[in-house]
Subunit: 393 residues, 2 copies
């Protein structure tokens, strides 16, 4: 058995970024950039007013100004502002030649058609210099970043209409087990509905991959070996990794061109995890228990997808305080399903009483996994503990 | 001017949940349930083994057991287990009649074909009772919950093949301003690319709505009034809310059937916010500055979408420690763009030096908004402060 850290490192080492494709601006959200995207131009492209007011020359001091025109956004004033002159201007309007400050409209009096104000009204100048937001050649969004809605607005402001991104990594999912049938389909005695694959597909899509369903396979080496045909960057099997004294998936893959990297990780839930290569394709054999499989997905599949996207690991642990005592841990790293409670300016983790690895109802209600290191000493109520938040997945 | 809290409350009061539609299991992730989804059956449907081992009768004590058959998952053993008998069983296998404990395979010796073990090996029993995960009639996922990948697995396990969810709320976006043109299209002097709408569309989709682009409209009351034609549950306008002394959007809508709820919120960035009704359709007039508009979207549009989805508010504030001193605040609630730094088991918020509401580059880099209440006293480095994390949007 190897540690969780070693298993994560070995899995990460097995993946390289996928190829690229060019995607238009409107569809970039959630995609990962293959290259830095640089701005072709300055933003704003010209010195612009930050407020509604009057564009003035500072050197005129407090002398009244004569209004010679206006500069709304999108309609520049076409002449210079001379001594004693001003141009009515609006937020986003181009600063006319000769002007070097904006006096906001709240600070002026209109007297006999002239604009009057105190000298102090010319500080600050309320001018956005050309390139204040970004300059031509600046990196707007760096390679490897997963594009957020805010990045989308930034790219649009930089006149970017398309970008090169990583192709969605294809992850094939095969559910293994004679007991499985599709939800809603007739059930034989002793049968249950295949469930993990639905959760896993949704996680893969959320994490930036393209899930492909390889269906339900029986506990039969020949059938299981057909996963070698999956057209994917990664094959995930669910179940069949720990059946009695032998391992069906390993046995099945032995007939294909399978090279084992590791089997079994010192963790709970999820010990029987296989990782290896099937020809050129990495294969991750996950446990049949749905909770074990989904926890393994969070720990091992998400980093694999990040690696295929060429993006920094998005899994972040944080901390919370324990709502109850925990006993000393054994040699396996343990992930305890817990509710998070926001109380007194702090976050508390309250483990669920039942932690059986078949209980999807508990995992679905959980807000976080409390991480217990191998051989961790007992922990007391109020102690800070490492957690993996499960927001959204 | 009204407070942010009052503005949020007035906006929330204006929305009711959208109608419903039935969606099949594979497409439920991210949708919001209109009704509780209850399980039609127990899970597991039968008492099942939690381990690989042997199904035994406790009352036989330590007597050797004769193996009379096997019960892999999906293949129940069809007879009872009599005195002195045992059935080889695997994880997920049906507990045969007569058996009341599983002895795990690691605890047995096979002697002359018989299975031998110590009595202590029969505790715990490693039996998952029927309905351990959930029982027929239990609520699997409650009405109003946005379905996560884990919920998907749970619904599948409950044999749910479809569910009634809220229709995606349609949100029309109109970008207003003579200075605007689409990214990549030719630009007149003083013009800039329309950018906010791209970020806003991606946010709306991420928050569970259906964005519809109403395009770019000039600063012209007649053109702006055409937003009354949008086929949407909510119309959002960007810009045109504070042009000089008058408000173009209000003026434009005055010609349509517009009823103002409020105008101007005591906040920074984002003061010139309009909310009202256009006939039956709520309309949210947001500022033209992209940062102001996107901050207003986070504060006001997301709760509106939540209300239309009939789901609990998903905006959660949390806390961080300040990396620098902050001056006293004025009467407007202020949202400061900041980076979050994880250091020494704590989270620190470091405000960016430049906070201009035109600077999308700063908003895109920010991890959180630091919330400063109206008239907040100065804050010192190390003080805890309220933040709105911007994860993913």
């Amino acid at each position: 058995m190897i540690s969780v850290d070693e298993a994560q490192a070995r899995i990460l080492a097995a993946f390289t970024p996928t190829g690229t494709e060019v995607v238009d601006l409107a569809h970039l959200a959630g995609r990962v950039l293959a290259n830095d995207v640089k701005s072709p131009s300055d933003q704003p492209p010209f010195p612009a007013s930050a407020m509604d007011g009057y564009a003035v020359r500072r050197s005129d001091g407090e002398a009244p100004r004569k209004v010679i025109g206006s500069a709304p956004a999108g309609h520049p004033f076409l002449g210079p502002v001379g001594p004693g002159e001003t141009v009515r201007i609006f937020t986003g309007g181009v600063i006319p030649d000769g002007a070097d400050a904006i006096v906001i409209q709240e600070e002026v009096d209109i007297v006999g058609g002239d604009v009057q104000f105190n000298a102090s009204a010319m500080r600050p100048d309320f001018i956005r210099t050309a390139g204040l937001d970004f300059k031509a050649g600046d990196i707007l969004v760096p390679a490897g970043k997963r594009i957020t809605p805010r990045d989308m607005a930034l790219l649009a402001a930089g006149d970017i209409t398309e970008a090169k991104v990583r192709r969605l990594p294809r992850v094939a999912i095969a559910s293994i087990g004679d007991e499985l049938s599709a939800p809603g389909s007739p059930r034989q005695p002793g049968g249950i509905a295949a469930s993990t694959g639905y959760g896993l597909s949704a996680m893969i899509a959320m994490w930036g991959g393209a899930p492909c369903d390889f269906g339900i396979l029986p506990d039969n080496a020949q059938e299981i070996a057909t996963v070698a045909d999956a057209d994917a960057e990664l094959v995930v099997t669910l179940g069949g990794v720990s059946v009695g004294d032998h391992d069906l998936v390993q046995k099945a893959l032995g007939t294909a061109d399978f090279e084992l990297d590791f089997w079994k990780v010192a963790m709970r839930p999820g010990k029987p995890l296989i990782f290896g290569r099937l020809g050129k394709t990495p294969i991750l054999g996950m446990p049949g228990n749905p909770v074990s499989a989904l926890v393994c997905a969070i720990l091992f599949l998400r980093p694999a997808i990040d690696a295929m996207l060429g993006t920094a690991a998005s899994q972040r642990t944080t901390s919370a305080r324990l709502k109850q005592d925990l006993p000393a841990n054994d040699g396996r790293q343990t992930y305890i399903r817990a509710r998070l409670i926001h109380e007194g300016g702090d976050v508390w983790a309250e483990p669920f009483a039942l932690q059986d690895s078949s209980m999807l109802s508990v995992l679905a209600k959980a807000d976080a996994l409390v991480v217990r290191a191998p051989d961790a000493p007992p922990a007391a109520t109020g102690d800070r503990t490492e957690i993996i938040p499960l927001d959204g997945y």
